[in-house]
Amino acid sequence: MFEFIQRALGLKKDDPTASKNTAKERLRLVLVQDRASMSPATLEALKEDLIRVISEYMEIDQTGLEVSLSSEDESVALVCNIPILKLKRNAKEQETAS
Protein backbone atom coordinates (compact mmCIF):
# COMPACT_ATOMS: atom_id res chain seq x y z
CA MET A 1 0.00 0.00 0.00
CA PHE A 2 2.77 2.39 0.98
CA GLU A 3 4.57 1.63 -2.27
CA PHE A 4 1.37 2.22 -4.18
CA ILE A 5 1.01 5.70 -2.66
CA GLN A 6 4.64 6.48 -3.34
CA ARG A 7 4.19 5.41 -6.92
CA ALA A 8 0.92 7.27 -7.30
CA LEU A 9 2.54 10.44 -6.02
CA GLY A 10 5.50 9.93 -8.29
CA LEU A 11 7.89 9.78 -5.37
CA LYS A 12 9.26 6.36 -6.12
CA LYS A 13 12.86 6.55 -7.23
CA ASP A 14 14.49 4.55 -9.96
CA ASP A 15 14.12 0.86 -9.44
CA PRO A 16 17.36 -0.87 -10.46
CA THR A 17 15.34 -3.81 -11.75
CA ALA A 18 13.25 -1.56 -14.02
CA SER A 19 13.51 -2.75 -17.59
CA LYS A 20 14.88 0.59 -18.77
CA ASN A 21 18.10 -0.09 -16.91
CA THR A 22 18.40 -3.49 -18.52
CA ALA A 23 17.82 -1.83 -21.90
CA LYS A 24 20.46 0.82 -21.23
CA GLU A 25 23.02 -1.74 -20.13
CA ARG A 26 22.40 -4.01 -23.11
CA LEU A 27 22.56 -1.04 -25.46
CA ARG A 28 25.89 0.11 -23.98
CA LEU A 29 27.42 -3.31 -24.43
CA VAL A 30 26.19 -3.85 -27.96
CA LEU A 31 27.45 -0.40 -29.01
CA VAL A 32 30.90 -1.12 -27.60
CA GLN A 33 30.97 -4.14 -29.90
CA ASP A 34 29.48 -2.26 -32.89
CA ARG A 35 31.76 0.73 -32.61
CA ALA A 36 34.76 -1.56 -32.28
CA SER A 37 34.22 -3.02 -35.69
CA MET A 38 36.15 -1.35 -38.46
CA SER A 39 35.69 -1.94 -42.14
CA PRO A 40 38.47 -4.05 -43.70
CA ALA A 41 39.43 -1.04 -45.84
CA THR A 42 39.89 1.20 -42.80
CA LEU A 43 41.86 -1.49 -41.02
CA GLU A 44 44.09 -1.85 -44.09
CA ALA A 45 44.68 1.92 -44.20
CA LEU A 46 45.58 1.90 -40.50
CA LYS A 47 48.00 -0.96 -41.15
CA GLU A 48 49.75 0.96 -43.93
CA ASP A 49 50.04 4.08 -41.80
CA LEU A 50 51.46 2.04 -38.92
CA ILE A 51 54.03 0.44 -41.20
CA ARG A 52 55.10 3.85 -42.48
CA VAL A 53 55.52 5.36 -39.02
CA ILE A 54 57.13 2.36 -37.36
CA SER A 55 59.54 1.90 -40.27
CA GLU A 56 61.14 5.20 -39.31
CA TYR A 57 62.34 3.52 -36.15
CA MET A 58 62.85 -0.10 -37.01
CA GLU A 59 62.78 -2.56 -39.82
CA ILE A 60 59.66 -4.67 -39.53
CA ASP A 61 58.32 -7.79 -41.17
CA GLN A 62 55.45 -6.30 -43.13
CA THR A 63 53.97 -9.62 -44.13
CA GLY A 64 53.85 -10.87 -40.55
CA LEU A 65 52.16 -7.74 -39.24
CA GLU A 66 48.78 -8.27 -37.60
CA VAL A 67 46.38 -5.55 -36.56
CA SER A 68 43.00 -6.17 -35.02
CA LEU A 69 40.47 -4.76 -32.61
CA SER A 70 39.54 -6.75 -29.58
CA SER A 71 36.71 -5.92 -27.24
CA GLU A 72 36.27 -7.21 -23.76
CA ASP A 73 33.32 -6.20 -21.63
CA GLU A 74 33.20 -2.45 -21.90
CA SER A 75 36.60 -1.64 -23.36
CA VAL A 76 38.12 -1.97 -26.79
CA ALA A 77 41.79 -2.42 -27.55
CA LEU A 78 43.84 -2.15 -30.68
CA VAL A 79 46.01 -5.26 -30.77
CA CYS A 80 49.10 -5.24 -32.96
CA ASN A 81 51.61 -7.97 -33.49
CA ILE A 82 54.59 -6.52 -35.32
CA PRO A 83 57.63 -8.73 -35.85
CA ILE A 84 60.83 -6.65 -35.81
CA LEU A 85 63.61 -7.59 -38.19
CA LYS A 86 66.19 -4.99 -37.20
CA LEU A 87 66.26 -1.92 -35.00
CA LYS A 88 67.47 1.20 -36.75
CA ARG A 89 70.10 2.81 -34.57
CA ASN A 90 69.59 6.60 -34.32
CA ALA A 91 67.10 6.68 -37.19
CA LYS A 92 64.78 9.32 -35.77
CA GLU A 93 67.11 11.04 -33.31
CA GLN A 94 69.05 12.64 -36.15
CA GLU A 95 65.92 14.33 -37.43
CA THR A 96 64.84 15.68 -34.08
CA ALA A 97 68.37 16.84 -33.30
CA SER A 98 68.74 18.82 -36.50
Binding site: A8, L9, K20, K24, V30, D34
Partner: protein, 262 residues
Amino acid sequence: MGEVIVVTSGKGGVGKTTTTANIGTGLAVMGNKVVLVDTDIGLRNLDVVMGLENRIVYDIVDVVTGNCRLKQALIKDKRFEDLFLLPAAQTKDKTAVSEEQMRELTQQLKEEFDYVIIDCPAGIEQGFKNAIAGAQRAIVVTTPEVAAVRDADRIIGLLEAALLAEPKLIVNRLRPSMVKKGDMMDIDDMIEILAIELLGVVPEDEAIVISTNKGEPAVLDKQSKAGEAYRNISKRITGEHVPLMNLEADGFFRRLRRLFGA
Protein backbone atom coordinates in the same frame (compact mmCIF):
# COMPACT_ATOMS: atom_id res chain seq x y z
CA MET B 1 19.04 28.87 -52.24
CA GLY B 2 17.20 26.32 -50.11
CA GLU B 3 18.38 23.56 -47.84
CA VAL B 4 18.33 19.80 -48.34
CA ILE B 5 17.49 17.79 -45.22
CA VAL B 6 17.44 13.99 -45.14
CA VAL B 7 15.28 12.08 -42.64
CA THR B 8 16.89 8.74 -41.89
CA SER B 9 17.06 6.01 -39.23
CA GLY B 10 18.61 2.70 -40.19
CA LYS B 11 15.76 0.67 -38.74
CA GLY B 12 12.44 0.51 -40.57
CA GLY B 13 9.12 1.50 -39.08
CA VAL B 14 10.41 4.04 -36.58
CA GLY B 15 8.69 7.05 -38.16
CA LYS B 16 10.81 8.48 -41.01
CA THR B 17 7.89 8.87 -43.40
CA THR B 18 5.60 10.21 -40.67
CA THR B 19 8.30 12.70 -39.70
CA THR B 20 8.97 13.79 -43.29
CA ALA B 21 5.26 14.43 -43.92
CA ASN B 22 4.80 16.32 -40.66
CA ILE B 23 7.85 18.55 -40.70
CA GLY B 24 7.34 19.25 -44.40
CA THR B 25 3.76 20.31 -43.77
CA GLY B 26 4.83 22.15 -40.62
CA LEU B 27 7.40 24.16 -42.57
CA ALA B 28 4.81 24.91 -45.27
CA VAL B 29 2.34 26.17 -42.64
CA MET B 30 5.04 28.61 -41.59
CA GLY B 31 5.08 29.99 -45.11
CA ASN B 32 8.05 28.14 -46.57
CA LYS B 33 8.25 26.68 -50.03
CA VAL B 34 8.75 22.97 -49.43
CA VAL B 35 9.22 19.82 -51.51
CA LEU B 36 9.13 16.31 -50.06
CA VAL B 37 11.11 13.67 -51.91
CA ASP B 38 10.27 10.00 -51.41
CA THR B 39 13.42 7.97 -52.10
CA ASP B 40 11.99 4.69 -50.86
CA ILE B 41 11.83 3.28 -54.38
CA GLY B 42 9.74 0.11 -54.56
CA LEU B 43 8.02 0.86 -51.24
CA ARG B 44 6.24 4.13 -51.95
CA ASN B 45 4.56 5.48 -48.80
CA LEU B 46 4.85 9.21 -48.45
CA ASP B 47 2.11 9.85 -51.04
CA VAL B 48 -0.39 7.92 -48.92
CA VAL B 49 0.60 9.65 -45.67
CA MET B 50 0.16 13.00 -47.44
CA GLY B 51 -3.15 11.90 -49.03
CA LEU B 52 -1.83 12.46 -52.56
CA GLU B 53 -1.75 8.89 -53.85
CA ASN B 54 -4.42 9.49 -56.50
CA ARG B 55 -2.57 12.29 -58.21
CA ILE B 56 0.64 10.55 -59.21
CA VAL B 57 1.51 10.49 -62.87
CA TYR B 58 5.29 10.58 -62.97
CA ASP B 59 7.86 9.67 -60.31
CA ILE B 60 11.47 10.26 -59.29
CA VAL B 61 12.82 7.65 -61.70
CA ASP B 62 10.97 9.30 -64.60
CA VAL B 63 12.67 12.57 -63.65
CA VAL B 64 16.24 11.33 -63.33
CA THR B 65 16.02 9.24 -66.49
CA GLY B 66 14.63 12.19 -68.44
CA ASN B 67 11.28 10.55 -69.06
CA CYS B 68 9.56 13.74 -67.96
CA ARG B 69 10.46 17.22 -66.78
CA LEU B 70 10.89 17.83 -63.05
CA LYS B 71 7.89 20.18 -62.96
CA GLN B 72 5.62 17.51 -64.45
CA ALA B 73 6.42 15.04 -61.67
CA LEU B 74 5.92 17.43 -58.74
CA ILE B 75 2.51 16.96 -57.11
CA LYS B 76 0.97 19.95 -55.44
CA ASP B 77 -0.43 19.41 -51.95
CA LYS B 78 -4.20 19.65 -51.43
CA ARG B 79 -3.94 22.17 -48.64
CA PHE B 80 -0.87 24.28 -49.25
CA GLU B 81 0.08 26.21 -52.38
CA ASP B 82 3.79 25.96 -51.71
CA LEU B 83 4.04 22.31 -50.67
CA PHE B 84 4.97 19.64 -53.22
CA LEU B 85 5.74 15.93 -53.35
CA LEU B 86 8.11 14.11 -55.65
CA PRO B 87 6.92 10.49 -55.34
CA ALA B 88 9.07 7.36 -55.41
CA ALA B 89 8.69 4.83 -58.20
CA GLN B 90 6.77 1.78 -57.13
CA THR B 91 7.78 -0.75 -59.75
CA LYS B 92 11.56 -0.20 -59.85
CA ASP B 93 14.25 -0.88 -57.28
CA LYS B 94 16.83 1.24 -55.45
CA THR B 95 19.42 0.90 -58.20
CA ALA B 96 17.17 2.80 -60.63
CA VAL B 97 18.70 6.02 -59.27
CA SER B 98 22.38 6.84 -58.71
CA GLU B 99 24.05 9.09 -56.14
CA GLU B 100 25.17 11.42 -58.90
CA GLN B 101 21.60 11.73 -60.20
CA MET B 102 20.38 12.50 -56.67
CA ARG B 103 22.98 15.24 -56.29
CA GLU B 104 21.83 16.82 -59.54
CA LEU B 105 18.16 16.49 -58.62
CA THR B 106 18.52 18.05 -55.18
CA GLN B 107 20.65 20.82 -56.63
CA GLN B 108 17.84 21.65 -59.01
CA LEU B 109 15.19 21.44 -56.29
CA LYS B 110 16.94 23.70 -53.83
CA GLU B 111 17.07 26.47 -56.40
CA GLU B 112 13.25 26.46 -56.35
CA PHE B 113 12.42 25.57 -52.75
CA ASP B 114 13.32 26.78 -49.26
CA TYR B 115 13.36 23.22 -47.91
CA VAL B 116 13.90 19.93 -49.70
CA ILE B 117 13.00 17.13 -47.25
CA ILE B 118 14.14 13.66 -48.23
CA ASP B 119 12.42 10.56 -46.89
CA CYS B 120 15.07 7.83 -46.71
CA PRO B 121 14.41 4.09 -47.00
CA ALA B 122 15.41 1.74 -44.17
CA GLY B 123 18.81 0.11 -44.34
CA ILE B 124 22.35 1.22 -45.15
CA GLU B 125 22.53 0.11 -48.76
CA GLN B 126 22.16 1.96 -52.06
CA GLY B 127 18.82 3.55 -51.11
CA PHE B 128 20.40 5.15 -48.06
CA LYS B 129 23.41 6.33 -50.06
CA ASN B 130 21.12 7.89 -52.65
CA ALA B 131 19.01 9.62 -50.02
CA ILE B 132 21.96 11.29 -48.32
CA ALA B 133 23.91 12.10 -51.51
CA GLY B 134 22.61 15.63 -51.97
CA ALA B 135 21.78 16.43 -48.35
CA GLN B 136 23.31 19.18 -46.25
CA ARG B 137 21.63 18.33 -42.98
CA ALA B 138 20.46 15.04 -41.51
CA ILE B 139 17.76 14.14 -39.03
CA VAL B 140 18.02 10.73 -37.38
CA VAL B 141 14.75 9.23 -36.12
CA THR B 142 14.70 6.56 -33.45
CA THR B 143 12.26 5.01 -30.99
CA PRO B 144 13.21 4.33 -27.35
CA GLU B 145 14.17 0.71 -28.01
CA VAL B 146 17.53 -1.02 -27.96
CA ALA B 147 17.44 -2.15 -31.59
CA ALA B 148 16.35 1.23 -32.96
CA VAL B 149 18.95 3.17 -30.98
CA ARG B 150 21.62 0.70 -32.00
CA ASP B 151 20.77 1.24 -35.67
CA ALA B 152 20.68 5.01 -35.12
CA ASP B 153 24.24 4.79 -33.79
CA ARG B 154 25.36 2.99 -36.92
CA ILE B 155 23.64 5.57 -39.12
CA ILE B 156 25.25 8.46 -37.24
CA GLY B 157 28.64 6.86 -37.90
CA LEU B 158 27.87 6.51 -41.61
CA LEU B 159 26.57 10.09 -41.85
CA GLU B 160 29.75 11.37 -40.27
CA ALA B 161 31.83 9.27 -42.64
CA ALA B 162 29.89 10.87 -45.51
CA LEU B 163 30.78 14.28 -44.04
CA LEU B 164 27.19 14.98 -43.02
CA ALA B 165 28.36 16.15 -39.65
CA GLU B 166 26.21 16.93 -36.64
CA PRO B 167 23.02 15.08 -37.43
CA LYS B 168 20.13 15.83 -35.05
CA LEU B 169 17.96 13.29 -33.24
CA ILE B 170 14.20 12.89 -33.07
CA VAL B 171 12.94 10.39 -30.53
CA ASN B 172 9.56 9.13 -31.72
CA ARG B 173 6.82 7.14 -29.99
CA LEU B 174 7.92 7.99 -26.48
CA ARG B 175 5.44 6.92 -23.83
CA PRO B 176 5.80 9.21 -20.83
CA SER B 177 3.89 6.85 -18.55
CA MET B 178 6.29 4.01 -19.34
CA VAL B 179 9.29 6.27 -18.84
CA LYS B 180 7.87 7.22 -15.48
CA LYS B 181 7.56 3.59 -14.45
CA GLY B 182 11.13 2.96 -15.52
CA ASP B 183 10.06 0.70 -18.35
CA MET B 184 11.29 2.87 -21.22
CA MET B 185 14.62 4.54 -21.81
CA ASP B 186 14.36 8.27 -21.29
CA ILE B 187 15.65 11.07 -23.49
CA ASP B 188 18.76 11.74 -21.43
CA ASP B 189 19.79 8.08 -21.68
CA MET B 190 19.61 8.14 -25.46
CA ILE B 191 21.28 11.51 -25.90
CA GLU B 192 24.13 10.44 -23.68
CA ILE B 193 24.65 7.11 -25.39
CA LEU B 194 24.46 8.50 -28.93
CA ALA B 195 26.31 11.76 -28.18
CA ILE B 196 24.05 13.71 -30.51
CA GLU B 197 21.96 16.86 -30.29
CA LEU B 198 18.22 16.51 -29.74
CA LEU B 199 15.85 18.08 -32.27
CA GLY B 200 12.66 16.93 -30.59
CA VAL B 201 10.58 14.26 -28.90
CA VAL B 202 7.33 12.97 -30.40
CA PRO B 203 5.03 11.04 -28.10
CA GLU B 204 3.17 7.89 -29.03
CA ASP B 205 -0.16 9.25 -30.23
CA GLU B 206 -3.26 7.69 -31.74
CA ALA B 207 -3.71 10.89 -33.71
CA ILE B 208 -0.82 9.74 -35.91
CA VAL B 209 -2.71 6.61 -36.90
CA ILE B 210 -5.92 8.54 -37.47
CA SER B 211 -4.16 11.23 -39.50
CA THR B 212 -2.44 8.58 -41.60
CA ASN B 213 -5.80 6.94 -42.21
CA LYS B 214 -7.12 10.26 -43.50
CA GLY B 215 -4.01 11.39 -45.33
CA GLU B 216 -3.76 14.58 -43.27
CA PRO B 217 -0.52 15.06 -41.32
CA ALA B 218 -1.06 15.33 -37.54
CA VAL B 219 0.92 18.56 -37.46
CA LEU B 220 -2.31 20.23 -38.65
CA ASP B 221 -4.28 18.82 -35.71
CA LYS B 222 -4.25 21.38 -32.92
CA GLN B 223 -5.48 18.79 -30.39
CA SER B 224 -2.72 16.28 -31.05
CA LYS B 225 0.35 16.08 -28.80
CA ALA B 226 2.40 14.55 -31.60
CA GLY B 227 1.18 17.35 -33.84
CA GLU B 228 2.38 19.91 -31.33
CA ALA B 229 5.73 18.15 -31.10
CA TYR B 230 6.08 18.33 -34.91
CA ARG B 231 5.10 22.01 -34.93
CA ASN B 232 7.89 22.66 -32.43
CA ILE B 233 10.37 20.61 -34.44
CA SER B 234 9.49 22.53 -37.61
CA LYS B 235 10.20 25.80 -35.80
CA ARG B 236 13.52 24.50 -34.52
CA ILE B 237 14.51 23.55 -38.07
CA THR B 238 14.13 27.19 -39.08
CA GLY B 239 16.37 28.21 -36.19
CA GLU B 240 13.75 29.22 -33.65
CA HIS B 241 14.43 28.26 -30.05
CA VAL B 242 11.46 26.34 -28.72
CA PRO B 243 11.68 24.57 -25.35
CA LEU B 244 10.79 20.88 -25.16
CA MET B 245 7.11 20.48 -24.44
CA ASN B 246 5.84 18.81 -21.29
CA LEU B 247 4.78 15.36 -22.38
CA GLU B 248 3.30 14.35 -19.08
CA ALA B 249 -0.40 14.21 -19.62
CA ASP B 250 -0.41 12.81 -16.14
CA GLY B 251 0.76 15.66 -13.93
CA PHE B 252 1.31 15.42 -10.20
CA PHE B 253 -1.88 17.19 -9.23
CA ARG B 254 -4.02 15.25 -11.59
CA ARG B 255 -2.63 12.05 -10.14
CA LEU B 256 -3.24 13.33 -6.62
CA ARG B 257 -6.81 14.20 -7.51
CA ARG B 258 -7.39 10.80 -9.06
CA LEU B 259 -5.93 9.15 -5.97
CA PHE B 260 -8.46 10.87 -3.76
CA GLY B 261 -11.27 10.08 -6.14
CA ALA B 262 -11.86 13.62 -7.34
